[in-house]
Amino acid sequence: MSASASENRLRELLLRGLAGENAAYHQFLLELSGFLRAFLRGRLGRLPDEVEDLVQETLLAVHNQRHTYDASQPLTAWVYAIARYKMVDMLRRHAVRGALHDPLDDELAIFAAPDNDAGDARRDLAVLLAQLPDGQRLSIQHMKLEGRSVVEAARLTGMSESAVKVAVHRGLKKLALLIRSSS
């Protein structure tokens, strides 16, 4: 599939996902992860062990920041900017100087070709999830991992339904911060 066909397909999946269609959103993240993996693998030649961690970190960032996507904007540019931001951030944390010298880099490279051969993540997000405060951790566990409804999650945690939703949202943002400070 060409980059522009991928752009159209992924964009449509994301828009349906943003409208609340979970199956479309799941498919979007799945296909996106393949493109992110290929893109990052091509750029992190010197740090192959970091690829899967960075794929996960970027997926979490895409999810947490998904409200900043403007439907009139090319998805390619949006995803590329996020992936690049997370990659530069990671390289800076690892104090890798000169690792990102690619003046010819361009955003169209992001949807060039997928790579669905997932390596192992070195950092286990489950361990970081366990460090979240109880309310956030339990809300994520019930709603996101066990697939329960907000009503059930609220009953199990003793929190209100809106508090559960806020806790999930904040917990995932906190998770992104934990990733940054853990590496």
Binding site: Q56, N64, T68, P74, I82, M143, R148
Partner: protein, 213 residues
């Protein structure tokens, strides 16, 4: 955790995203920022007593238009810097244009003025306090603008912080112009601009620290 499991977790039960959450965040920030800055101005300085007479002078409106135009340019830049992958486009031009216009006006005024009053046109009676007042008045708007930016996704944190700071500085200058008696273009082009640039520089310095995500 495997990547596929993470994807399942992220997608599972993900609610629909409110389509206007981006716009609402900025409306809220601008509302509170303007309110806070005007409140500080009213409590601390007050409105100049001759405001009704001043409002009859064209230069009074030029003085308001200068920070208002910079506010528009800074807002344009901030909105674009809040979203990953959106180019700045004409935002730098929208910021530079009012500054250049004010400088041209200032040069014209200075050239046309008698040599002995040029000093007065540049320094007025309040050049030592003007930038400080504007920067201080911009503090509530500064907090609000950075709050808005923080909840979005700036990938260029220095520029994003600077645009937020300039936005706040322009609001501070707008509020201050209701108090300040200075009317000369050279004064506005130097000291007002300096006052607005202080929060912009502070924002640019703090951006990489405060706007991480």
């Amino acid at each position: 955790m495997k990547t596929d499991d993470l994807i399942g977790m992220l997608a599972g039960g993900a609610p629909a995203v409110e389509t206007d959450s981006f716009r609402r965040r900025y409306v809220t920030a601008l509302g509170w920022g303007t309110f806070g800055t005007l409140l500080l101005m009213t409590i601390w300085l007050g409105v100049r007593r001759d405001i009704a007479a001043a409002a009859l002078l064209p230069m009074f409106w030029v003085k308001l238009a200068f920070p208002a135009a910079l506010l528009a340019g800074a807002l344009m830049a901030a909105l674009r810097l809040s979203r990953p992958g959106v180019r700045l486009g004409s935002a730098p031009l929208a910021i530079a244009a009012p500054v250049l216009a004010m400088w041209l006006l200032a040069v014209a005024v200075l050239v046309g003025a008698a040599p002995e009053i040029r000093n007065q046109l540049v320094f007025g009676i309040s050049w030592t306090v003007c930038p400080f007042y504007i920067a201080t008045l911009s503090v509530p708007a500064f907090v609000a603008a950075l709050w808005a930016m923080k909840g979005l996704a700036p990938t260029r944190p220095v520029l994003a912080g600077a645009a937020s700071g300039l936005l706040a500085g322009a609001l501070g200058a707008l509020a201050y112009s209701l108090y300040c008696p200075e009317m000369a273009a050279p004064f506005l082009g130097i000291w007002y601009l300096l006052g607005m640039l202080i929060p912009a520089v502070v924002g640019g310095v703090l951006g990489p620290w405060l706007l991480r995500w």
